[in-house]
Amino acid sequence: MIPTIGLPHAISPTQPMQPFWAEITEIVHEAPGVSTFWLQFLDPDLREGFHFKAGQFNMVSVPGLGEAAISISSDMEDGHRIGHTIRAVGNVTSAISQMNVGDVLGVRGPFGSWWGLDECVGKDIVIAAGGIGLPPIRPVLYYVLHHRQDFGKVIVLYGARTPNDLQFTSEYKTWQDAEIEINVTVDRGDDSWQGRVGVVPILFYNTRVNPRNTVILTCGPEIMIRFVIFEALARRVPPERIFVSLERNMKCGLGSCGHCQLGPFFVCKDGPVFSFDKLQPYVNVEEF
């Protein structure tokens, strides 16, 4: 059973922009500049009641600096510990990367839509992710590990810039033991790299996709997403079974501030996960 979202959320219906405090309980280094911050709400009710679905995000804030939309990379069946895998790139994420266990962050959430796990039951899943696009899909992998028998083949196609940049490498063994196939590629190898070199979409060339029974989940750089969709469509996977998680500028998570709009959608509220049939009219419009 996929847990349904229960109250209390860390979203106040009367003060929706006010954060709730969460303490950093553990920091796991994943790759250069990328760490997973494990958080726990200070409020015990929230700690107990907080639920999210795979693919949703929180607005994580540092007072005085700002707030950033960050996907939840942890296990949705363990809402007590919330994991955010963060790459230090902007104001807020750089400040967080300087923080230590015991420090406190502001959190609002969870926001947005989720991966269509219901659609995946009984089907093969192909996950295509690039770089920091894997953390938003990791909750799916946790779920698959807990409910492996619900799904057919599960294949992860993952790429990063260099072997060093590959995330969650310590978990590959666990995934493989659960018969999750992992195909990895890097843009540039190093002296010890024996694996594939190239972009994520080429991993499709060695992947057998049964179009009648496959769900594609993809997240990563927009250009990668475009080519993943191209490969998926070329294999006749129908658009409504290709799920994409998009990134946009977000300031509220409520479908109010306007920044994340894409045509009729507020990506923060109607997304970030979309089935491709909804996005089809807009994805190939330049600069929309």
């Binding site: 979203i11 106040s12 219906p13 009367t14 003060q15 929706p16 922009m17 006010q18 954060p19 405090w21 804030s61 540092v62 007072p63 005085g64 600096l65 700002g66 707030e67 790139v89 902007g90 406190v104 502001g106 750089p221 990134e247 946009r248 500028n249 300031k251 509220c252 409520l254 479908g255 109010s256 501030c257 306007g258 920044h259 709009q261 045509g263 009729p264 507020f266 009219p281 419009v285 330049e286 600069e287 929309f288």
Partner: protein
């Protein structure tokens, strides 16, 4: 003469001299009355002490990139159509506090209790286009699942005195958008200004209370006819029109590659004037700041615009990097995707974006040009 019953839904006549008493009644009921007044050559909305400071005798001449107040000496209070300001600023202020934080002894942040000024506002002289705009913003800021606290507090206690628009502006097209020249329900009182009297339509119990004790007269067939004639004439007199707005979502969103986007991008300066004066534009930015000691911090909600450079910025790029993409976003949102989001057009036809565009860009002309380009 038999006593006239004041009841919600009824219309009575009010001698013009009694307008002062109406303002006084609102003051007495505890409202902060806000009304149109002339300042620096334009009409602005600010606290109204007396009906005497209303822009009586003035009219405004508006065209693309042009706005002038003209004194004609007539005896009408509400002839001046709106300037750059709209009532949006009172429910959705340009800058409000979202949260303030203070550091505790242990170094952790504490959220300070936030107070919202609960003085009820009376908006005195809201034209139908602007009333429609308030109702559109209600859909944006008052959701079932959450409510903007400042908007909610101010909106629900506000008194709206609407005024039918008998002398529409040169850039307006409210008749096309179905928002004017007659005010739709949603007002507490609605005035029609005739030569000697106001016709006053009572829209709510609050409106009825304000009218209690006023020197009212029964409406006559003559006045009702004058009101209807004035509205009919106003519909035909406004400076712009926009045919079939309900067709625009399809027209605009299926022609995202029209040549006209390139053309308008050569004229638009991405200055964001149109979004600042638009009474429905709702985009805002959350800005964080801290004091120099690092002991206090605050988040503010500040008006933003899809024309601003960092509006669509994310690490790794800007999804709308140029004027063409920004103008297209504004127009396709306002007249197109707004329907899917909020079940209505985002435009009320007030014409402000035309009047206040320094480059004389006229949305009605742009839309016409796109229509002509793709449906020759």
């Amino acid at each position: 003469m038999a006593e006239i019953q004041l009841s919600v839904g009824s219309t009575v006549a009010l001698p013009k001299v009694a307008l002062e008493k109406l303002v006084a009644n609102l003051h007495r009921m505890g409202y902060l009355v806000l009304g149109p007044q002339i300042q620096d050559g334009a009409v602005v909305y600010k606290p109204l002490d007396s009906a005497g400071v209303l822009p009586k005798g003035y009219t405004s001449q508006q065209d693309a990139a042009s706005y002038h107040l003209v004194y004609t000496g007539h005896q009408r209070y509400f002839d001046v159509t709106p300037g750059a300001q709209s009532w949006k600023q009172f429910f959705f202020p340009p800058q409000t506090e979202l949260a303030s934080y203070k550091r505790e002894e242990n170094g952790r942040w504490q959220i300070e209790e936030r107070s919202i000024d609960l003085t009820p506002l009376a908006l005195f002289g809201v034209f139908p286009c602007d009333l429609a705009a308030v109702q559109i913003q209600d859909r944006i800021f008052l959701r079932e699942e959450w409510k903007d606290p400042v908007y909610w507090a101010r909106r629900q206690s506000a008194f709206i005195l609407a005024v039918n628009c008998l002398h529409p502006c040169g850039t307006g097209f409210c008749a096309s958008m179905g928002t004017g020249p007659k005010a739709s329900p949603g007002f507490d009182l609605n005035l029609t200004e005739l030569e000697d009297v106001f016709l006053v339509e009572l829209g709510s119990e609050a409106g009825r209370l304000v009218m209690e004790g006023m020197p009212i007269l029964p409406t006559s067939a003559f006045w009702l006819q004058a009101c209807q004639n004035g509205l009919d004439e106003a519909s035909t007199k406004m400076g712009r029109s926009l045919p079939a707005p309900q067709e625009l979502p399809d027209l605009l969103l299926s022609n995202l590659d029209a040549q006209q986007w390139d053309d308008v991008a050569r004229r638009c300066m991405s200055c964001s004037s149109c979004t600042q004066v638009c009474p429905t534009c709702f985009c805002w930015d959350a800005r964080d700041s801290a004091d120099l000691t690092g002991q206090t911090a605050r988040r503010e909600k500040v008006w933003d615009s899809c024309f601003n450079q960092d509006y669509s910025y994310i690490v790794g790029g800007n999804s709308r990097p140029n004027t063409r993409s920004r103008y297209r976003q504004w127009l396709t949102h306002k007249f197109g995707s707004w329907y899917a989001q909020f079940g209505t057009s985002g435009c009320v036809g007030c014409g402000r974006c035309i009047t206040w565009c320094p480059a004389k860009i006229d949305v009605t002309a742009e839309i016409r040009a796109i229509r002509e380009e793709v449906q020759p």
